[in-house]
Amino acid sequence: MNIRAPKDFWSGLMFIAFAAVAMLAARGYSLGGAGKMGPGYFPMLLGGVLALIGAILVGRSFVIDGERVGRLHLFPLCVIAFGVCLFGVLLEPLGLVIALIVVVLVSALASRESRPVEAGVLALALAAFSVGVFVYALRLPLPVWPALLS
């Protein structure tokens, strides 16, 4: 047995994985009956359907030909996701200015074309712009400076 449609195969597995998580978690919620649905009823139903769709995709991938999965470029993705997480962690203690500069600098690392000086200028410009627009003009409730200072 060869996998002939890798994209379908992996999509199917992904759906099955999500379905499994959903159905395992939904076991803890009472099902109820069709006439009086509990919180577990609809998730269980959806989980079943999703698992079925996943199974169809996986099964089909052995029979019909399909595209291969392109190479995953995990480095840029992980760098960016890491930068985003840093923003989430740093914003409340250190404020918008520092968190934004950090996320811009870190995510700039994701591209080989980035240049250090340029990225630095960009980070400063974006921080100034964001404080001006989001905090002062639009009055979004964002901490600007580190919590210790204020």
Partner: protein, 499 residues
């Protein structure tokens, strides 16, 4: 008669200095961001959502609608000048539009796109005025069974009209529905799928999810493409097309508008199908079809009119039924919910100023687009030259700010990081994210309506086929699935959508 009274209310709202300013800001920012290479309309709307948080609801919706048309037009500009379509529905524009630009006729191409879009926008806005009230009146009588079946039908149609594998798209819809259920269950108070995380108690934040997929995952995906030097056509020439050109295009604009208004109402690829359909139609009716593909101005006028008409009429199901027909409309619904308005047929009766204000502002927004774009083209061309390495960190920064600002909750930012990775995998596996977003928005509503229907029928699922309207929706859904599964039609669909 009523239409005029309603439009008077609408223009009364839309023409206040404040709302005109927001409409203008929306159109301007939408075009500005939409023109930037690698940023399509959905990403633009997602990124600019946060600036509407603090506005009053009417102004916020007016501005977002403006952002949407602006972004659409910006996408056409990049299609013509750089041969990069901002989104799928402007793919067709690249065919003749970019050829025109290569022949030094970029100006007239941009001009006719603006004129065609404006005309199409006017017609589509009128259609909304006429069609929306009766539709909403019908929808007001829908019970939970009808609603449930309508949502099934809408989701299936969205899947069938989208690109790529139907099975995968249905999987994405179901996954979206599941993700929509995360958080407190309103009926039992049970916290579902939060896995102990307090930040998930109110569910996955829609803004974080959509920014993750359309902002951050897109960036990661774009970064791996070869950054070839974009071939920007900087010779624009006179933007206002010669009268002969306009006259030549009038029939195409009319046909494109007609097709676009009709197809735009359909869920899913309404605007996309409209643009492709209009182009094919023009080629069929033209006396010398050979000029198409070599810079025929009609090949720009027709699809641009069609896609703008479609973009406009896609508001009909959103405003009257509360059902999004594409990801942008899902974002509009998300924005309405942030402002505490639950979309659906009641909006028109309960908040007429909001409803008619948005519609009136559509027309004003379209007018602004023309006025704004014809003289500002030179500036947009300069923006086209901004390299992606400077854009993408900014996109990520704005997404972070947006995700935090919705609820002032840092955990939403972490949720966004998680779904960015998920979104990237989906893009790699050719799983279209649009159905996921639609499912996500409709998840809780579907559960609620299913629950109510079965509560009334004491658990008997036959009620869905016993109610005539509900049965009708289910038959349409089944037909759509059968039709798309039929091999002959499937081949046609693939040809039409993948060209």
């Amino acid at each position: 008669m009523d239409v005029f009274a309603n439009l008077t209310i609408g223009f009364g709202v839309a023409l206040t200095a404040q709302n005109l300013l927001y409409c203008f800001t929306g159109v301007f920012l939408g075009t500005l961001v939409g023109v930037l290479p690698g940023i399509g309309p959905v990403t633009t709307v997602a990124m600019l959502l946060p600036i509407s948080f603090t506005l009053p609801p009417v102004s916020a919706m007016i501005m977002l609608a403006g952002i949407y048309y602006g972004a659409q037009y910006g996408g056409s500009t990049t299609a013509i000048l750089v041969n990069i379509p901002g989104e799928a529905s402007s793919v067709v524009t690249t065919i003749d539009g970019h050829q025109m630009a290569r022949q030094g006729r970029a100006g007239p191409a941009l001009g006719i796109a603006a004129i065609g879009s404006f005309f199409a926008g006017c017609v589509a806005t009128l259609l909304i005025c006429v069609a929306a009230p009766p539709l909403a009146a019908i929808a007001l009588n829908f019970g939970p069974a009808e609603y449930f079946s309508l949502m099934v039908c809408g989701l299936i149609a969205a899947v069938v009209l989208a690109r790529g594998s139907v099975v995968k798209a249905i999987g994405m819809v179901v996954l979206g529905l599941l993700l929509g259920l995360v958080g407190n269950d309103i009926n039992s108070g049970v916290r579902r799928f939060t896995f102990g995380a307090r930040g998930l108690a109110d569910g996955i934040e829609f803004v974080a999810l959509s920014m993750a997929i359309y902002g951050i995952a897109e960036v990661a995906y774009n970064l791996e493409k070869k950054a070839g030097q974009a071939d920007v056509m900087s010779r624009i020439g006179r933007v206002w097309p010669a009268w002969a050109d306009i006259r030549h295009c009038i029939p195409s604009i009319l046909r494109g508008t007609a097709l676009g208004t009709l197809l735009g109402v359909l869920p899913g690829g309404g605007a996309l199908l409209a643009a492709f359909g209009a182009y094919t139609l023009e080629k069929k009716v033209a006396r010398h079809p050979r000029t198409f593909g070599h810079g025929d101005i009609r090949g720009v006028a027709a699809p641009e009119s069609a896609n703008n008409a479609g973009a406009q009429t896609s508001f009909i199901p959103m405003l009257t039924l509360g059902i999004p027909s594409n990801p942008t409309m899902a974002m509009m619904i998300g924005a309405m919910m942030i402002h505490g308005i639950s979309p659906g047929p009641r909006v028109m009766t309960d908040r007429p100023e909001l409803f008619w204000g948005i519609i009136a502002s559509m027309w004003i927004g379209n007018l602004m687009l023309v006025v704004l774009n014809l003289p500002l083209v030179g500036m947009w061309v300069k923006l086209l030259r901004i390299p992606y390495r400077l854009l993408f960190p900014a996109i990520i920064g704005f997404c972070c700010i947006g995700a935090f600002a919705v609820n002032g909750n840092a955990s939403d930012v972490l949720v966004m990081a998680f779904f960015a990775i998920f979104g990237y995998l989906c893009l790699k596996l050719d799983c279209e994210p649009a159905p996921l977003i639609l499912g996500f928005v409709l998840g809780p509503l579907m559960e609620e309506n299913l629950r109510r229907t079965l509560l009334i029928s004491r658990g008997d699922p036959m009620v869905f086929v016993e109610e005539p309207i509900s049965l009708g929706f289910l038959i349409v859904s089944a037909l759509l699935l059968v039709v798309v599964a039929a091999p002959a039609i499937r081949r046609k669909r693939e040809e039409a959508l993948q060209e």
